[in-house]
Symmetry: C2
């Protein structure tokens, strides 16, 4: 079985986007009523949005189950306030739940959190709990920069985040560290902001004792870990110079990289330097890069192909990357889908 740990609902029906646009328009008028309202989307519209996209690509690529969350760029926590973020997050998460209910063999949910700049993440605990205990979700996406490119929140290792971590530990769910769109013109979202956040989070974890306080807290750093595996020597050296634990010890039970790296040499590097136990198969499909690589004739984001081509790791390690590690990092997945052999 192949579990793709990184899929967003980038093809959601237009009614979802229309609701968000209306919400944003209403925010311009502070005296307008702040109703969550409802969104009318039929089951057929949901099926249609997936059949020609994620489901088709799952079949074509031979992957089975996608850990599925709302569109990352759509979270846009920097827009509006905490109430707006909550309403929007609930709608997005409810739609993911409908996807998972319609296609329980193909999708399992991860939630968007109702973060908002300057608002302590305590406000996310209720929605996380609702999604996990009522909707059967298995994790959350955590945005280290709700400001959308100005980085005004405290580092992820600050006690500011601890109440949310306590709930994650209680529910035994991990978080994927994932920023949203950037409203800072310096940062292209998928070409810079996403990768920068991955790199930034890793170095925050390296320089603090967060995991002493939370011995079972787990994070997935997506997009192959940003710049981290490419600079593995730099991080090993910095950890040594700073008298911090060795990088392999830091990550062992806590930090996991996905395989959203869209060329063979990058995947080879990842698999060469990062222990197989800390890598989860992911493709970000349908996501940041949608084209076909003229050099290979295959989709850039068909990351399974790259991994299959690597000869220097064992089949047992590949099995961990494709399935076993996801089950370990997201233990609630096994309540949804049994282990295959």
């Amino acid at each position: 079985m192949i579990i793709d740990c990184h899929g967003h609902y980038t093809t959601a029906p237009k009614a979802l986007i229309a609701w968000r646009e209306a919400q944003i328009a209403a925010l311009a008028n502070p005296s307008a009523a702040r109703e969550k309202g409802s969104i009318r989307i039929s089951d057929d519209e949901i099926r249609e949005s997936l059949e020609g996209a994620q489901l088709k690509l799952q079949r074509e690529r031979g992957t089975d189950l996608t850990i599925f969350s709302p569109r990352a760029a759509g979270m846009a926590h920097h827009i509006g306030d905490a109430i707006a973020s909550l309403h929007w997050s609930q709608h997005c998460n409810d739609l993911i739940h409908r996807v998972c209910t319609l296609y329980p063999d193909n999708f399992v949910g991860v939630c968007q959190l109702p973060q908002s700049p300057g608002v302590a993440p305590d406000n996310c605990i209720g929605e996380l709990e609702r999604c996990v205990t009522e909707l059967g979700f298995i994790g959350c996406n955590l945005n280290p920069d709700p400001s959308g490119g100005y980085w005004t929140a405290p580092p992820l290792t600050d006690r500011y985040w601890y109440p949310l971590y306590e709930k994650m530990v209680e529910l035994d769910v991990p978080a994927m560290v994932h920023v949203s769109s950037s409203c800072n013109p310096n940062f292209h979202a998928t070409g810079a902001h996403y990768l920068n956040a991955d790199t930034t989070a890793f170095m925050q974890f390296l320089t603090a004792d967060l995991f002493k306080d939370f011995p079972i807290l787990r994070f997935i750093i997506p997009h192959g870990g940003g710049a981290v595996p490419y600079h593995w020597g730099r991080y090993r050296g910095l950890a040594q110079d700073l008298k911090r634990p060795a990088v392999v010890d830091l990550i062992r039970d806590h930090i996991f990289f996905d395989t959203c790296v869209y060329h063979l040499p990058g995947i080879e590097l990842l698999l060469k330097v990062v222990p197989a136990d800390n890598i989860l198969f992911g493709s970000e499909m349908v996501g940041a890069v949608r084209g076909i690589d003229p050099e290979t004739g295959q989709y850039f984001d068909d990351t399974r192909r790259y991994i299959e081509q690597v000869r220097f790791i064992s089949d047992a390690d590949k099995q961990k990357i494709f399935e076993g590690n996801a089950r370990r990092v997201y233990p609630r997945i096994s309540r949804v889908r049994a282990v295959t052999t």
Copy 2:
């Protein structure tokens, strides 16, 4: 001959730091006189600061000439105003000039610019011109984020920067894109901010037509290009999706990566995906990572060793990386040091 394109004067005599500390203390008192003042450092103090560090390592590692600039983390453009930045930059650049005068076979200068948050970079033209025409410098370090981690300046492709680029073109000098220390607690300088800036700048260049306006403008993106070579497939795919020029065409005459990547698999990746014409040998010695890698018994930042171990590129390509490309990107270097064969 081996030219190291990336060295900072991280071992400068204490009197330099003392001057800066006094300047910062004086900034707290706005009514204090704003004198540039002078710094007393003897030639022997300069020799002493280098003999046991950069010069010793040049000899041990068999490198010849270092393109040498003030300490990057020390620039701290976010401290004080443009006048403070100018005084500080002039002192730092003058000291680099003394180093290059004392050791003309070992060092050639690159200058710090007197950038300041919210101040258009026109204010840097005078110091760039002074350093190039009077002090014999061959390039500059350009900070894309003078705010020190809040990213409040326009992207490097904005017309805001054009007057400085016009002067760079006129003088035929390149810029290394290099941020300074971070005053944003999210970003560790050498473990996150530096690499993020590299990644960010590359994506800015990819999404704009800067090089149509400046056909001979050249940038070095240090630290192996941040996350870029590791995500080469992502960038090739994004360029294609966005209908931008192919990445190899974008970089050909304009963007160059150094080899400050501190492990063999990272260097192998860099040399595999980036054309040899766009790679310049660099070590950042004495810099971000100062220890010895217990896995190899060698210094992490002894990057020559990694390149020498790579078998899949030709000796001719290695010669370009070690010398030829630096002479092409920094043409003024050949006024200082003749080509060896």
